[in-house]
């Protein structure tokens, strides 16, 4: 059994540090709300131009936006901090993390408390609730379960993406924004029905990397719509398994990565 008390202590320490910068916290909180509102507005604007998007109606597409936004915001809140590892690797600050008797990954996640990102989470959940209520869904117990589980599975999936794209910095210290292509890029990809993408791009992101299982397939299953791309209806319920596979993969990549940590001079 893992003793969580040391981690709780780390958490308390961060919370206490945070209180020494109240003004900047308030500012970041409000900019985060603004950013999330913009994310959703981008999708809404598209429907001003066209009645349907990739053969989906506004309410159907909004469910995907809600699932995607909720999953991403939760992952960003819990694991988004891992992006800071670039800084820790480059400056050798990771040394101080590795001399403590705790797992390196959880310590890094607790290095900063991104409470400001909480607002994104609340907003994403709001969109999901509105979409679920207005889309005229024929609710069955399975669908109710899925609408709760899918954002969580999506959050695990995005967390795995966050970890893998951050781990890359163990090999290439100057990764710049490559990681963001998969994290923020992934969020944008999942905000739209995958039918709007074409060819190899869709095959790679949707199926190869599994982004179709964050919002698209769960949304189809909840709506009870057949997949225009021909996959059976139960695929939406496979989202949790895809998330587990992603999490296990990310764990393995992390363990290999940390052995490649080079630290810095003295």
């Amino acid at each position: 059994m893992v003793d969580l008390r040391p981690y709780a202590a780390l958490f308390r320490g961060q919370a206490r540090s945070l209180t020494s910068y109240r003004a900047s916290f308030a500012l970041e909180l409000s900019t985060n709300v603004f950013a999330t509102v913009m994310d959703v507005l981008t999708v809404l604007v598209l429907f001003r131009i066209s009645r349907t998007l990739g053969s989906f109606t506004f309410h159907e597409a909004l469910l995907m936006v809600g699932l995607s936004s909720c999953a991403f915001a939760t992952a960003d809140l819990a694991v988004g901090n891992i992006e800071r590892i670039k800084l820790y690797v480059r400056t050798g600050l990771l040394d101080a993390v590795l001399i403590r008797p705790l797992g390196a990954l959880p310590q890094l996640l607790l290095m900063d408390l991104p409470l400001r990102k909480l607002s994104r989470c609340v907003f994403g959940t709001g969109v999901l609730v509105v979409a679920a209520v207005t889309a005229g869904i024929d609710w069955t117990p399975g669908r109710v379960l899925l609408v709760v589980i899918a954002p969580l599975a999506g959050a695990v999936f995005f967390s795995a993406i966050f970890v893998v794209s951050a781990t890359v910095s163990f090999w290439w210290v100057e990764t710049g924004e490559i990681g963001s292509a998969f994290t923020y890029g992934g969020r944008d990809f999942t905000s739209y029905p995958i039918t709007v993408y074409g060819g190899w791009f869709r095959r790679l992101f949707a199926y190869g990397m599994g982004f179709a299982f964050v919002a698209y397939y769960p949304a189809l299953a909840i709506l009870g719509r057949a997949d225009p791309l021909g996959l059976p209806g139960w695929v939406g319920y496979a989202a949790p398994s895809v998330a587990v596979v992603a999490a296990v993969t990310a764990g393995a990549v992390w363990r290999v990565g940390i052995r490649h940590y080079r630290s810095t001079g003295s």
Partner: protein, 316 residues
């Protein structure tokens, strides 16, 4: 005696890319640590020195589980550092002169309290150790100041305390006196001397300040280009590199003929000799000089020896 640190053929390679031509970059493998063997017994105080880039910090990082060795093996407290990192972390303390493990925005008091939970130290033990450090390192005046506002000397005293609160068996110190003023250096040194004298903590210390070594360490390991070039006492180092004690003689009036052999400098009234072997007979002869006013014996300077060691192109 129990062996606390055992390293055999420890090696760490880094791949560096070197510019070769306009766009082409060549990969080159550089060994930062190139086959280090080390055995340290419980209670030893070991000075680990070498010029910049010799591999001191890299060795320490492999022994503390931060870096994975490219080859060779290491055991610290019977544990293999990287795979058993978290277990090892409970039994060792690490102080990096150039990195902080304290919470930047919190007072020392809070940092120490957090560390108690992180290392799961029973409250009573923690209180005893903290009280001892507070007394020896004079922490009381800045216990409630946020770490970011501490001076370097104060912070270093805080770091030392932080590394000791869980009662480590081995304390690794990477340049603990770097950048400190004379008073803080003295405070850190006497604290470490006291700690080492108690005999239950093994100390491994890297430094560029050889006064640290002379004050604290019986044993000296010198590393250069990733290899151990000397392992033994400071006396053994002097013997090996032929550094000698010097005798400085001040005279009331110049003597024509220098009374002893190897004169280093002479301006008539002051003579400086180097002495091989026992110094007592030389002094006895000098004491017979009628014009003798003062006589001083200067111990060999470790800086000189080490400089020569670093500069020798291919140390044995």
């Amino acid at each position: 005696m129990t062996v606390v640190i055992a390293a055999h053929g420890l090696r760490k390679e880094f791949t560096v890319r070197v510019k070769a031509g306009r766009l082409r970059r060549e990969k080159r493998v550089v060994a930062a640590v190139d086959g280090v063997d080390l055995r340290v017994e419980r209670g030893e105080m070991l000075g680990y020195i070498g010029p910049n880039g010799a591999g001191k910090s890299t060795t320490l990082k492999m022994l503390t589980g931060i870096l994975t060795p490219s080859a060779g093996e290491a055991r610290v407290c019977g544990l293999v550092p990287v795979p058993q990192r978290t277990r090892l972390a409970r039994r060792i303390g690490v102080v990096f002169g150039q990195r902080s493990q304290l919470w930047w925005d919190l007072p020392l008091r809070d940092s120490f309290d957090l560390l108690r939970h992180i290392y799961r130290v029973p409250a009573a033990e923690h209180a005893v150790r903290l009280a001892r450090c507070r007394g020896l390192l004079d922490l009381d005046e800045f216990m409630d100041t946020p770490v970011r506002q501490l001076s370097l000397g104060q912070r270093m005293r805080g770091e030392l305390t932080a590394a000791l609160l869980h009662g480590p068996e081995v304390l690794f110190l990477d340049e603990p006196t770097i950048g400190l003023d004379v008073v803080s250096k003295q405070a850190v040194r006497s604290f470490l001397a006291e700690l080492g004298a108690s005999g239950d903590v093994t100390l491994v210390l890297t430094t560029h300040d050889l006064a640290d070594i002379e004050r604290l360490c019986q044993r000296l390991v010198v590393i250069d280009h990733g290899r151990v070039v000397h392992d033994g006492s400071i006396e053994a180092l002097h013997a090996r590199y032929g550094s000698r004690r010097r005798v400085v003689v001040d005279l009331d009036e110049p003597v024509g003929e220098p009374p002893e052999g190897a004169v280093v400098e002479s301006d008539g009234r002051r003579l400086v000799f180097t002495v091989d072997g026992p110094v007592a007979p030389v002094i006895a002869r000098l004491a017979a000089l009628p014009a003798l006013r003062d006589l001083t014996i200067v111990e060999p300077d470790i800086e000189d020896v080490v400089t020569r060691l670093y500069l020798s192109p291919d140390a044995p």
